[in-house]
């Protein structure tokens, strides 16, 4: 089992300012530092078990000889329809991708809807059509589900939960703890397109851009990768919290230093422009159709080639390597200096100036 993650190892027991700690804030849901603390301090102590402790995108369980991957995810995106997709597509892709990151071949999905009184049926119809379309395109079906309605004001239109089950072929083990010094870090394409697309249509911030969400189902890409590079140690899809948070999670779960090259991180020009304007770092914007792979040096070239030969991995590139240093993420800057990559406390916030 992986070493327990202690994000507070530096913090002093003295709390000189009464920093808010007794209520949930939005930061707790942002997938960064506050989310990690919520897990460690509130969820883990009650729920701890070996599968959960693997800090993977899903649990891999023994089912009478077969190994199955099991995962769940809840989607609360706003607006529910955005450039390149909607909450339905996202809910299917998100869960399929979590299964894929476990190395699993998906066999079925569940879908639970929480609807707010007054939500338009026409919009619901579009969302459900998206769910069906995305599932069909990946060759899986929604085999069970649930619908609840809450009073007006008690929800935000629609929340979608999906869960998924998949079969993990024998010999596959992609838990974060398997990441070892000497490995190469590969990203399957430009990062942050989903986060930037959502920002571009968020209320109060609408701006004209051609950025569309990168949402996509990754199981097929993963099969191509694992065929070419069977020694792949770990996979992760950098969703909430972005590539930066994903690397932090893996570095801490595996107890390794991950060094990335500032200049090699793939970011499209429009996403870079948005980030420069708003003072955001693309490393912490979500992607919904990308993966980061940790592969042994000897298989790195084959892994890149396999990813690039697939439409979803055309722009795959090496971004860094795994070192034996102190657990954490280090950026080698454009001038060759090394600095730590800070993990933000919560959602990226546009700056004053």
């Amino acid at each position: 089992m992986s070493r327990a993650y202690d994000p507070n190892r530096l913090a002093s027991p003295i709390c000189p300012l009464p920093v808010e700690s007794d209520l949930i804030t939005l930061s707790h849901g942002a997938g960064a530092g506050a989310s990690a603390r919520l897990f460690e301090q509130v969820l883990w102590p009650h729920l701890k078990n070996e599968a959960l402790g693997a800090r993977h995108d899903g649990a891999v369980l023994d089912a009478g000889g077969a190994r199955i991957a099991f995962t769940t995810d809840t989607f609360v995106v706003r607006p529910i329809e955005f450039p390149g997709g909607d909450i339905g597509v996202l809910a299917v892709h998100g869960t399929l991708n979590d299964l894929a990151m476990c190395g699993a071949r998906p066999i079925g999905l569940s879908c639970a809807l929480i609807l707010e009184e007054g939500f338009p049926l026409a919009t619901l119809g579009r969302v459900v059509a998206s769910i069906a379309g995305a599932a069909r395109a990946s060759g899986v079906e929604v085999v069970t589900g649930d619908t609840k309605v809450v009073e007006r004001g008690k929800g935000d239109g629609i929340f979608v939960n999906t869960a998924g089950v998949g079969i993990v072929p024998p010999g596959r083990d992609l838990r974060p703890a398997r990441v070892e010094p000497g490995g190469i870090v590969i990203v399957s394409g430009p990062i942050g397109c989903h986060g930037a697309a959502i920002l571009s249509v968020r209320e109060g911030l609408e701006f004209d851009s051609d950025i569309v969400s990168d949402t996509a189902a990754l199981p097929d890409l993963v099969e191509s990768l694992l065929d070419a590079a069977p020694g792949t140690r770990c996979l992760r899809d950098p969703t909430r919290g972005g590539l930066g948070a994903a690397l932090h999670e893996i570095a801490s779960a595996a107890g390794v230093e991950i060094e990335i090259e500032e200049l090699s991180i793939p970011v499209t020009e429009p996403v870079r422009v948005v980030c420069e304007l708003l003072g955001l770092d693309p490393l912490f914007l979500a992607s919904e159709g990308r993966l980061v792979a940790f592969v042994p040096e000897a298989e790195a070239e084959r892994a890149c080639a396999a990813l690039r030969s697939h439409p979803l991995g055309r722009d795959a590139v090496r971004v860094g390597r795994v070192l034996a240093g102190r657990a954490g993420v280090v950026v080698r800057t454009r001038i060759g200096a090394r600095r730590f990559l800070p993990l933000p406390a919560g959602d990226p916030l546009p700056r004053i100036c």
């Binding site: 009464p18 870079r272 800070p342 004053i352 100036c353």
Partner: protein, 374 residues
């Protein structure tokens, strides 16, 4: 990306650093004033390229950091006032006052909204006449024109439900305060390019003359900063003390006259408290009497029962004046971290202490990182 890539080119950066080293015959200590510059320096690691000859101190130029505790407490209190919508730039939401931050106020049911422009807050006020919309207006001279424009636009629309909780500060008096402080180590300043874009450079002339200190209005990209340092070092080596402009693509000596006129209409220069430093004479802006109807302090006079005090363990004043470098503070990384800050410079990503914490030690208290392997 135009105006970005050419200012981050590794080769150009090495050449510019070489120029600094060639020009300096002895060690010099420079202070960059702006938090954006501090951030760029530590993010790129460019200080390592010139460390042999130039020590960089990080000045009080983070608007989040210098916003006084009492302003934050007033904002938190306003956010909890029924009928009030508090609007703020995003990065103020996580800054703790003495009774928590605005995220916490929101979790307790307060109506706190992130806006990207003060004009968005005016639009909200026009849309919701039943609520009082208060904009938390903080920042340096760079930010204040858009705030003044918001007040003017609200008046033009006849809105009576739009207010400013204003705490705007000015750079030049802070530079004078730093130079007057005992133990000041600063040989030259890199002034903040965007502040000078608005205000011009004439306010800095008397400071350069009186204290015999070069002041170079400098941009925010790594190459801008190295060029600004080179200009300052050249002056120091020649024994000069002038105001000079590196950030020529944005700064004119007279600034932006239209923006200055808008500010002048709504705000007057006045004394202001700076978090970590105290009251600086003429250190900020106060709303003019003719705009009293838009002043949240007058509309909501009873927000605080007492004025909060800073933690005595925090040496922010020394850090902001450049007398103490963040890692030299006994509490740095121990009693004071970004999660549990003792004082303002540890709070915002642009604060000097937080910048050091994030980029230099995160995960390794006391172990300075950022070795140069160039």
């Amino acid at each position: 990306m135009k105006y970005v890539d050419e200012y981050r080119d590794p080769e150009a950066l090495r050449r510019a650093a070489g120029r600094v080293l060639d020009g300096a015959t002895r060690p010099w200590t420079l202070m960059e004033v702006c938090g954006g510059q501090t951030h760029a320096i530590l993010e790129s690691g460019l200080d390592a390229l010139i460390a042999e000859r130039v020590t960089l101190l990080h000045g009080p130029g983070c608007p989040v950091c210098v916003t006084p505790l009492e302003t934050l407490d007033r904002a938190v209190s306003l956010a909890g006032t029924p009928g009030v919508i508090l609007c703020s730039f995003g990065d103020m939401l996580r800054v703790p006052g003495s009774r928590g931050d605005l995220f916490g106020a929101r979790a307790r049911g307060g109506d706190v909204r992130i806006v990207y422009s003060p004009l968005d807050a005016v639009r909200l006020a026009a849309r919701t006449p039943e609520a009082s919309v208060v904009f938390l207006a903080v920042g340096f001279e760079t930010t204040i024109p858009s705030v003044a424009a918001a007040a003017r636009w609200a008046r033009k629309q006849g809105l009576t439900n739009f207010f400013l909780l204003a705490s705007h500060v000015r750079v030049p008096p802070a530079l004078a305060a730093i130079l007057e402080a005992p133990g000041c180590r600063v040989d030259a300043f890199l002034a903040a390019g965007h502040v000078c874009t608005i205000m011009g450079t004439s306010e800095y002339e008397p400071i350069a003359r009186r204290f015999r200190v070069p002041i170079v209005a400098t941009g925010f990209e790594p190459l801008d900063i190295l060029q600004g340092i080179a200009l300052a070092v050249d002056q120091l080596e020649r024994g000069e003390a002038r105001v000079e402009i590196q950030y020529r693509r944005a700064v004119r000596p007279g600034g932006n006259p239209a923006a200055r006129a808008i500010v002048e209409d709504v705000f007057a220069i006045g004394d202001r408290p700076w978090r970590g430093i105290g009251v600086i004479p003429d250190g900020g802006f106060v709303m003019r009497e003719s705009w009293a109807g838009f002043d949240a302090l007058r509309a909501f006079p009873d927000l605080l029962s007492e004025i909060p005090r800073e933690s005595p363990a925090c040496r922010a004043a020394d850090v902001l004046r450049g007398v103490l470098r963040p890692p030299e503070c006994p509490e740095f990384g121990r009693g004071c971290t970004p999660d549990r800050p003792l004082g303002a410079p540890m709070v915002s990503a642009e604060g000097a202490c937080a910048a050091y914490f994030h980029y230099r030690i995160a995960g390794a208290a006391g172990e300075a990182g950022a070795e140069s392997i160039a």
